[in-house]
Symmetry: C2
Amino acid sequence: MSPKIIQPTLVLNKTICLQNIKTMIKKAKRNKTSIRPHFKTHQSQKIGDWFRQLGIDKIAVSSLKMAVYFAEDGWKDITVAIPVNVLEIDRINSLAASIQLNLVVESLDVVEILDAKLQHRVNCFIKLDTGYGRTGIPSDNHPQISQLIDSIQRANKLKFLGFLAHEGHSYSARTQSELSRIHKDHIQKINAVARQFVNQCPTLIQSVGSTPICGGLENFEGADEVRPGNFVFFDLMQQRIGACDYSEIAVALACPIIAVHEDRNLVIIHGGGVHFSKDFLTLSDGTVCYGQVAETLKDGWGKPVPNAIVRKISQEHGIIVGPADFVKKCRVGQLLYILPVHSCMTANLMKSYHTTDEQIISMMP
Amino acid sequence: MSPKIIQPTLVLNKTICLQNIKTMIKKAKRNKTSIRPHFKTHQSQKIGDWFRQLGIDKIAVSSLKMAVYFAEDGWKDITVAIPVNVLEIDRINSLAASIQLNLVVESLDVVEILDAKLQHRVNCFIKLDTGYGRTGIPSDNHPQISQLIDSIQRANKLKFLGFLAHEGHSYSARTQSELSRIHKDHIQKINAVARQFVNQCPTLIQSVGSTPICGGLENFEGADEVRPGNFVFFDLMQQRIGACDYSEIAVALACPIIAVHEDRNLVIIHGGGVHFSKDFLTLSDGTVCYGQVAETLKDGWGKPVPNAIVRKISQEHGIIVGPADFVKKCRVGQLLYILPVHSCMTANLMKSYHTTDEQIISMMP
């Protein structure tokens, strides 16, 4: 494949990706929870098809634009897992005319606006905050939750579906026991809310889930539905959290070497912030990492090259510091495969995939 | 304008932008240096036209792909200001057939490959490292520079043009005197190299320049050519360096408010890492900033709202912490204008501009 790649290119190993999807579906089943994969990571109708072929029929997305893109490809049950942007009411009405659209609300103001402007029936989740602190009603604020449920149930075209929460603080975990503690605390808080309101809404759903939890823990029982997304590709961040092994990372950025400085153990690649994103990891020794070099194989990449790390990036350059024996073998015009720190952000920038079996897969424009 | 914006949108104030371009052209003239603006920031043929109408006829870009995009719009003198990616030799040959293409080299290996494969005459700069440490030949390594000039002069289709350097370390400056010190040191080093080789190549050019230096200093004499790019829009980073005032920032991201948490002084916007990028500033109190709220005016934005800062971002969410009186006035469905930390990265993600006088300007696809 390599001879055809001449510029920074996001390479996808379909075998690993399919395995990641299958593993997560099985894991959800074993945990007696339904799975609604988050498609914000891959943003691709084609990759969405792989999920569909494995039995998935409901998804989460992170914007209404993305909901439209997947609805156009036949997805009929879509949760937009971000508080409603009421300025997009026309998109909401047009989507709700043809699919089961599930929105996320967390204020009376939004329910009021939706009630006034919705033309079709829409389901809605109440967003709870169990400690991440981004958004949502604090899960212990039962009066506020109760008031919001009432307003949803009074609204003409809204159906209350249940509670949705995102344990984003799981991203700071670095051990299984931390992940487990965060998950248990999260689930207990949501379960407590559910118990409080189950009489009022017997069919309510508890929707949770992040890749650190669903990837890193064998046991994540306790919710009705999980919404992991990143697991489709994984990345260095997830490896560091303990949610995957290096061998489960399904994407790498193939970058041409444009300079080698043996005297300083530097390899410069064409591949920078407009390809990787500026997301970085802080390694255990306090240094930062924007990507990790993996061995170049005939048909893709292999194991990580120890200590060959993208240390700095600017708009189009990446600066790799590596061990002398690695740098010595690097030549301008070769490709290096770099495991990304955050595959969601990298995929969003690259806008298409080049699979290891030489297909081009497009993404949402 | 606001009623038409319903999702995160990059808004451009054309008046400020034109003023920035005019100011820099005048400043370069005053400093008796020629200007080759770097187009990697705006990546737009339309905005390129504004430069052309003000007399600019040569540009710098950061990739061959970008060179192709601007060459298609009639630009005839383009420097690709990143070491040559030899895998793109076909693009180089096709460009060099129709424009004056200036490449950047820093190794004998690359000169050898170009010599073997070039079909048309190409100019080339030698990349010098004056202290930034990204790439280039250390400016005090005269034997290596001499060897490289010889190999370029022996090559059939290469013409040695001079020395190119980027004072990227100017981005860490926070005062005029730091900027001035970095610039003087940089210029002295390049001038020393030029003096050494001017007999061998009497027409050699010294090309330098970054927005911190050209924006922040009144006096940046000493080089033949400057290549600033970011000044077309500026941003919070440049304001912090001292290269511009808030009032010179020509772009802001208009983001819908999707949640308000008065109890925690938080405003949540639709606008995250896929819109702003993950570039951040560390403020003087040690906290981080991904963007700064500006006042909403009828036809765009005004002054910064003191202490209303985007403190955290995830893929699609931005979390603004602001003073109570600001948060109290925020309502879901309103737009907030956010000044970006790094306009190059934000523009690259947004892929088009919405001007304050309601034009849509496209960018390189």
